[in-house]
């Protein structure tokens, strides 16, 4: 099994994600520069966090026009698991692969802090090892992380079980405390918090087990037992 880590100019969590995939979970991972295409033999794609194009205009919007996004789109249509974390989530939203938008936090500031997620959908390739409503201690670090959708879309999201994670408390003003969503098929997931920062016990001050399940879910989906 092989996971592609997409790198844009300004991505800065790519190396963290790569480290976690390879050193912690023993997954075969490879970087893909945004101008390149993705090969056919990729089993999952991750868009890591960072500041693609310096977050100019709006976080994620310029990267959403990168050539590689066409390939990501094709893979998404084929049902291949795609995960966007933080800026990766913003890019997925701006490229239309996920619904909604991410606005400036209500505090108007960048926020770096630990919070808790609640799992709302345990059917995705990244959440199949969770119990519903399970709590995940995890850090967030973003300036534009306030998830917003209009009322009609929200109804759709609920109906189609597209809300994947919620914050356990009000963090940044997100609609319905949404922290992560998926597409209708459930194979494309975006989340603002950083699972790659929470899976190792020496940098996780609370409990690294829950966030590890995000990666173990992927392994399970691929039929790899750890």
């Amino acid at each position: 099994m092989k996971v592609g880590v997409v790198v844009f100019p300004g991505s800065n969590c790519d190396r963290d994600m790569y480290h976690v995939l390879t050193d912690v979970f023993n997954i075969n991972a490879e970087y893909f520069w945004h101008e390149k295409g993705l090969p056919k033999n990729i089993d999952a794609v991750i868009l890591p966090g960072g500041f693609s194009y310096g977050d100019r205009l709006r976080a994620g919007v310029i990267a959403a026009h990168s050539p590689i996004i066409n390939d990501v789109r094709k893979m998404a249509e084929k049902g291949i698991p795609v995960l966007g974390v933080c800026n990766g989530f913003q890019i997925l939203v701006e490229s239309g692969l996920l619904p909604g938008v991410l606005l400036k936090n209500e505090s108007l500031n960048f926020m770096c802090k630990w919070t808790n997620l609640i799992v709302e959908n345990n059917k995705t390739p990244f959440t199949n090892q969770f119990k519903l409503n399970e709590k995940i201690p995890i850090p967030i670090a973003n300036g534009e992380g306030r998830y917003y959708v209009d009322d009609d879309t929200m109804k759709e999201l609920k109906k189609k079980n597209q809300i994947v994670f919620r914050y356990s408390e009000v963090v940044n003003g997100s609609t319905n405390r949404i922290a992560g969503v998926c597409n209708e098929d459930g194979n494309v997931v975006g989340m603002m918090p950083h699972p790659e920062r929470a899976v190792e016990s020496d940098i996780n001050p609370v409990d690294n087990k829950p966030s590890s399940l995000i990666f173990e879910s992927l392994l399970t989906k691929m039929g790899v037992s750890k």
Binding site: L57, R58, A64, H65, E94, G100, V101, L103, L108, Y148
Partner: protein
Amino acid sequence: MASFIVHVTIENKPGINDPEGDTILNDLVLKGTHKTVSKIKAAKMLKFTIKEKDKKSAKSKVQEICDELRIYNPMVSKVTIDVFAVEK
């Protein structure tokens, strides 16, 4: 072909809250002595310099760019486009 300056103003649609404008209003303006201000709305502006045959095509070209490249996010924002001829 002539040069035009096109102002693109991107602002939140009515009904979408604007914490930035509200904060400037509440924490700065109304804290002081400026009670005649009743609302502040924050927006972003991009000034394009573009060569097109006339005002009209300058405007439609920029509108096209804004829609196609998602210069604004239609779910939350709207744009206003104003064209000015460049003085020689």
